[in-house]
């Protein structure tokens, strides 16, 4: 039988690549992202505060070390194939091996990079989640005011399972939060529809 792992890259897409995160090189750009409340909340689960580059570098190093030791978390820096600059971050903050599930976060530094690369990156991310991490389901949580995300997730087969009323506070008001989930079986079904 043909081995589908041979000759296939999990990390390389048409325009983007899932690469290693490098605190030395990436912290500077990263610090501008963590000045954004939505990103900072997903990343740190703490009340929002901008962080200086030096602190962020340390924090990233700690996160990577913990991920390596615990095997519970995985981080990827998303970069364009032809440029070393970071355009996005993909991470699985807590892999639940017993139940084969995980939350997945994907964030881009600019709106423009989201528009150009989010779809392609999500495809890579889902392939990795289901075919390498062997997850049964993947969950993405978004705020109710992220319509582009909502559209992309729904196009990709995700189902909105949970609406947490007024669970997020930012810019002086409360936002609802949605939990979107995709099962491996649904993802496979969707893939076969696309290729047929």
């Amino acid at each position: 039988m043909e081995n589908a792992m041979i000759g296939k890259s999990l990390f390389t897409g048409e325009h983007v690549e899932l690469t290693e995160l490098d605190p030395e090189k990436d912290s500077l750009l990263f610090s501008t992202w963590t000045s954004h409340p939505v990103f900072a909340r997903k990343m740190f689960h703490q009340p929002f505060k901008p962080r200086p580059v030096s602190e962020l570098k340390k924090k990233l190093q700690e996160m990577l070390k913990e991920a390596d030791e615990s095997h519970h978390a995985i981080y990827f820096a998303v970069r364009k194939l032809d440029s070393p600059d970071l355009i996005g971050l993909l991470w699985f903050p807590w892999l639940d091996a017993t139940h084969q599930t995980s939350t997945m976060h994907l964030s881009f530094g600019t709106e423009q990079d989201f528009d150009s690369y989010a779809g392609e990156t999500l495809k890579l991310a889902l392939y990795y989640a289901f075919m390498e991490l062997s997850l049964h389901r993947v969950v993405v949580s978004i705020r109710a005011d992220e319509p582009k995300w909502m559209e992309l997730l729904e196009q990709s087969g995700f189902l909105r399972e949970v609406l947490r009323r007024e669970n997020v506070f930012s810019q002086g008001r409360y936002f609802d939060e949605y939990l979107y989930a995709l099962m491996k079986s649904e993802w496979k079904q969707k893939l076969s529809e696309v290729t047929e």
Binding site: P47, T101, H136, V139, R160, R164, E166, F169, Y174
Partner: protein, 196 residues
């Protein structure tokens, strides 16, 4: 104003004292059904020292109480708030009634009501979250009685006993809780039977 903030109709909440309570909590763990209803992590046996260490580490973040019966001062379970987002005013609640003969008799519901009173009237929380396994119908009913509303179902979220099970998400907003207090006030003015 409520006379004793931490007293309900059947129970009172007392601060968890790990030196006093760790033995008891470790002993409840012998009941694997209890563990499987309480938590999605694999059921294990923790000795009292490990339970104590765990709580001492978590102490600064969580608000943990033991549930004590009013009629005979027996400690029958625990309830706690953790995972606080103080900017949004949100937290997660967990509850366990370790003493079998006190399950399904309104003690847990009473404890939850007392805790919510504390959460909304003293901690000024905006919202309290919880997860409950779909097969734990008794708990779902108890949470509904305490004022929680259904917010969605995470499909096949856990895998136990060679089968996948859904997890239900529930939440209560301060405004839900306030409305409930007003309704109860109205019902107290007209003589009706009080349900625990």
């Amino acid at each position: 104003m409520k006379k004793n903030l931490f007293e309900g109709t059947l129970i009172r909440l007392i601060p968890m004292d790990v030196e006093r309570d760790a033995e008891k909590m470790a002993a409840w763990g012998r009941d694997s059904e209890y563990q499987r209803l309480l938590d999605m992590s694999p059921a294990v046996r923790f000795n009292a020292k490990l339970v104590q260490n765990w709580y001492e580490k978590a102490e600064n973040n969580g608000h943990s109480f033991m549930i004590q019966t009013l009629d005979n001062d027996l400690i029958i379970g625990f309830i706690e708030l953790d995972g606080f987002d103080w900017a949004a005013g949100t937290a997660w609640v967990g509850i366990g009634v370790g003493e079998r003969e006190y399950r399904g008799k309104g003690y847990g519901t009473d404890a939850m009501k007392v805790l919510l009173h504390y959460a909304f009237s003293e901690l000024n929380l905006h919202r309290v979250n919880l997860n409950v396994f779909d097969f734990n119908r008794r708990a779902v009913r108890s949470y509904e009685k305490a004022g929680f509303k259904y917010e969605g179902t995470e499909r096949e979220r856990i895998f136990k006993e060679d089968q996948r099970w859904d997890v239900i998400d529930m939440g209560i907003l301060k405004s839900d809780w306030e409305l409930m207090q007003e309704e109860q006030l109205v019902s107290i003015q007209t003589p009706v039977e009080v349900n625990a």
